[in-house]
């Protein structure tokens, strides 16, 4: 069964003279006004990398302070502002938009055989909203800076004299960017799939992004409402969350976590999608349990909405609520467990090649199992009492957010770098950086699990002396982590400028995004491909650079 001539016409590297999306218009205006999903993706990538760099600097500064139990390096107010900035930047400016904004925009249309997303202008608008929100939030930080933590708990956030309003407004605007991105993907996936690409043939990354988009569209408005109420509370004395005016501070926590727990899945579902793609490519194997992986994404998106109460076990909600939310939290863990087993299963009888992205896959698998299971442990109501608001929680969510999401982001960055820029990077340095990052990550956050056990609460500027040894260990690890990221920055910039031109499909992958040229032309495909099989079918051998979809 032959698919189409299109595939064959793309076989082998396209001639260099062909305009790709990067060379098709090189003026600033051609980027600023672009409607090309690939250019929007690249702009998102650049923006989130800047955010990640900033957030990382804040984190390293915090860790430096924590070398000493007493006042050191900065005063308490600066410390409190700094951890707020670290949280806000990493979550709202990096983790939430990172994979959907950068790689989702770039890859989803390519993977489903479309020429662009459904609403290209809206896509560009969502990028500008992101910039606007980021600008407002960063302006607010420079201009005083909130000291509330990224969770903005009332009544602290509605009474602190620091500048909370700009950051709330920034988060509000960023929320709209997120909603528009999600909306765009949902419509794109529903309407623009290539002929023959039915739901059960859709690449697993697209499933991940689709699940994410549903959460973004349904949950983000609640965050918008919540921060808006806090803002009104601050400047107009609204009093919905302030008990002094008849409000209820716990109501805020319910509303906040109604968004922010699903938001964890906004950050981690796309990461899971990336792993589903890369583990197939580097094991050269079809996904083990495709259906299970695909549907569990929807399962996570759905059940993720009903677990927010596990953030409130000690906050004064009823014991019955705690039980119900605890039980539901166990189910979310199951969906993740299914995915993990199936990723490992994918390696069975595969042809595994150890590359830089594969190193990050290994890191991801270990971190998500440990991070995920400590999450389930935290949802075990009675154990949460000791761990709640301690470094155990900090370590757990960094295992998920950095250990899973950032590892997947790095895997995606290395895996799709040739696709996006047509260049190769230094594999040797890639492995060195991966080793440093995985090692440094463990050295940073394993001591924090122990600190949590030991009883050190989070957001502590000063701490009792007996916590110092573990804090020093954690800071030492964080410098390793920082060096790892620095190495990546250097060799990727070098690769971008001086890297060797790569072939059209350097990994020999049979993911659908490799059907187009690398880097793809502006219109992606000369002719829309017809899909007649599942992605990552490695039963037949083709020379690298050719995918015969038949």
């Amino acid at each position: 069964m032959r698919l189409s001539e299109t595939t064959d016409s793309l076989a082998g590297a396209p001639p260099l003279e062909t305009l790709n999306y990067l060379t098709d218009g090189t003026t600033v205006m051609s980027w600023v006004n672009t409607r090309d999903h690939k250019r929007v993706g690249v702009m998102f990538l650049a923006a989130v990398l800047v955010a990640f760099f900033l957030g990382g600097l804040f984190a390293l500064t915090l860790r430096m302070k924590l070398l000493q139990p007493g006042p050191f390096l900065m005063d308490a107010l600066s410390y409190n502002r700094l951890f707020t900035l670290h949280g806000v930047v990493m979550i709202f400016l990096f983790l939430i938009p990172a994979i959907p904004g950068a790689f989702g925009n770039f890859m989803v249309p390519l993977m489903i055989g479309a020429r662009d997303v459904a609403f290209p202008r809206l896509n560009l608008a969502s990028f500008y909203l992101y910039l606007l929100g980021a600008a407002i939030a960063i302006w607010g930080m420079v201009h005083g800076g909130a000291d509330t933590g990224w969770t903005f708990y009332t009544p602290y956030s509605s009474t602190t004299p620091t500048q909370v309003l700009p950051i709330l407004l920034g988060v509000f605007v960023l929320g709209f960017s997120s909603i528009l991105t999600g909306l765009n993907f949902i419509v794109t996936v529903h309407t623009l799939r290539a002929p023959g690409l039915n739901w059960m043939r859709m690449p697993l990354f697209v499933w991940g992004i689709y699940g994410t988009s549903i959460i973004q569209v349904l949950a983000t408005p609640v965050l918008g409402i919540t921060v808006l109420i806090v803002a009104v509370e601050r400047f107009a004395g609204f009093g919905m969350f302030d008990p002094a005016r008849g409000g209820d501070p716990v109501l805020y926590q319910h509303m906040f976590w109604f968004y922010s727990h699903p938001a964890v899945y906004i950050m981690v579902l796309p990461a899971m999608g990336v792993i589903s793609e890369t583990v197939c490519t580097f094991s050269r194997k079809n996904p083990f349990g495709y259906r299970a992986i695909a549907l569990s994404s929807l399962g996570i998106a759905f059940v993720g909405f009903f677990t927010w109460g596990h953030h409130l076990f000690v906050a004064g909600q009823s014991t019955f609520d705690a039980g119900a939310f605890g039980l539901l939290s166990m189910l979310v863990g199951i969906f993740t467990a299914i995915k993990v087993f199936n990723w490992v299963g994918t390696m069975y009888r595969g042809a595994i090649k150890f590359t830089t992205p594969f190193a990050y896959i290994c890191g991801f698998l270990y971190f998500i199992v440990f991070g995920g299971m400590t999450g389930i442990a935290l949802a075990t109501t009675s154990l949460d009492i000791h761990w709640h608001d301690t470094y155990f929680v900090v370590a757990h969510f960094h295992f998920i957010m950095v250990g899973a999401s950032v590892m997947a982001f790095l895997a995606a960055l290395h895996y799709w770098f040739p696709k996006m820029f047509g260049k190769t990077y230094s594999e040797g340095w890639g492995l060195v950086a991966a080793a440093l990052i995985i090692l440094g990550f463990n050295a940073t956050f394993v001591p924090q699990f122990l600190l949590g056990n030991y009883g050190m609460p989070r957001r502590y500027y000063q701490y009792p002396d007996h916590f110092q040894a573990l804090n020093v260990a954690s800071t030492a690890g964080s410098t390793l982590l920082g060096f790892g990221f620095l190495i990546i920055l250097i060799y990727l910039v070098i690769a971008l400028r001086w890297g060797a031109r790569c072939t059209q499909n350097p990994w020999g992958s049979k993911g659908f995004e490799w059907l187009s040229a690398s880097p793809p032309p502006t219109h992606n495909f000369d002719e829309i491909p017809t899909i007649t099989q599942m992605p990552h079918d490695y039963r037949t051998h083709e020379p690298p650079g050719v995918i015969r979809v038949s």
């Binding site: 006042p71 509330t148 009474t159 008990p243 270990y366 389930i376």
Partner: protein
């Protein structure tokens, strides 16, 4: 075994009746987590070694997992998770349900101190005294923002909310002293909002309580330590001031060794020329020191936040003068009097 695992995991001492049961579940959960991570990791490594890519043209078979395998993937973790949950929730319900015979202590959190009041009368700041082996119920509320009452050794934690009461009970197993930490972020002093639980032998506690009730020391807010703890009786004003400073929580924010803290240090404070937020300068004399205790927000030293609560009505006149005398005594060059003669050297502080 219990002690070995506890130390390996850096868990603090097990000082309440909850701690041992909770730790047992903790060990079980962490061990299964390790085993699970180990199994997944080892399987991945085995697959990697066994199924390495041998040529760049290698093909692989298409494998679909059988249904029973997927079912196994669901049931194995689910049964573990449910087991954890039911054991844990059972314990959780016990922790959330104070026994009927518990003695009550009222707790009020405020930026950044803990205040305890006993139904029998006495009250205390930052020091909670309880008898060992008795059920104690804490009825907690906050005066400003949300705080969280946390004693790691007891494995208890509960948010302290403004505008409502939450409760938490515990039963301390043996006499000892344990730190109270605030676990919910509450601003600049969050990390120093610490107090202490002193678990006393029941008969010592009764003695202490009786002393408090007799009103012998009724003027004092904090219950004074018992004789058993070996605290000397009233000394001179400086010594009294030192004790008042500790009992009233002054030293939570003011250092006595020259380091900058939430408030200005007391070392060399007396007669220091301080610049106020208004830009004016002031001489920190007895009058200023007293005003700063009674109405701290009126004249804030430049560079500090107006966060200190007023002590008008909370300090008796003798306590105030004791504090002033104590501050006056804190001089880094206390031995030197009169103008210096000849070359002067930075004096070494003798302690």
């Amino acid at each position: 075994m219990n002690d070995f695992l506890r130390r390996m995991l850096f868990l603090p001492e097990q000082a309440s009746t909850f701690a041992r049961d909770l730790d047992r579940l903790h060990f079980f959960v962490i061990l299964t987590t390790f085993v699970m991570s180990f199994l997944v990791g080892t399987t991945a490594i085995l697959f990697f070694v066994r199924f390495r890519r041998r040529s760049e043209t290698q093909t692989t078979p298409h494998i679909e997992p059988p249904m029973w395998l997927e079912a196994l993937f669901v049931t194995i973790p689910l049964s573990f998770f449910l087991l954890w949950f039911f054991v844990g929730f059972n314990e959780f319900v016990r922790q959330q349900t104070p026994p009927a015979d518990a003695m009550d202590v009222y707790v009020m959190g405020k930026k950044w101190m803990w205040k305890f009041a006993y139904p029998d009368g006495p009250n205390a700041i930052n020091v909670l005294r309880v008898p060992a082996g008795r059920n104690v119920r804490l009825l907690m509320t906050s005066r400003d923002v949300i705080h969280s009452f946390y004693v790691p050794e007891f494995r208890i934690k509960k948010d302290v909310l403004p505008g409502r009461y939450t409760d938490q009970w515990f039963n301390a197993v043996a006499p000892g002293r344990f730190q109270i930490l605030c676990a919910e972020y509450c601003g600049a002093g969050h990390s120093v909002m610490r107090g202490e639980v002193i678990v006393m032998k029941p008969e010592e506690y009764e003695t202490w309580l009786a002393l408090q009730k007799r009103g012998a020391l009724a003027s004092r807010q904090d219950g004074s330590p018992t004789e058993i703890e070996g605290t000397p009786a009233l000394g001179n004003l400086v010594e009294q001031g030192k004790r008042v400073a500790a009992e009233k929580g002054c030293l939570k924010c003011h250092s006595i060794d020259g380091t900058r803290h939430i408030g200005p240090t007391w070392l060399d404070l007396y007669h220091r020329r301080e610049r106020l937020t208004t830009g004016a300068f002031i001489d920190a004399d007895e009058a200023y020191l007293t005003r700063s205790m009674m109405d701290p927000a009126a004249e804030i030293v430049d560079g500090y936040q107006p966060v200190m609560p007023g002590y008008e009505g909370k300090l008796t006149a003798p306590e105030t003068s004791a504090l002033v005398e104590y501050i006056k005594s804190l001089q880094s060059d206390a031995v030197r009097t009169g103008p210096s003669e000849g070359p002067s050297y930075a004096p070494l502080r003798n302690n």
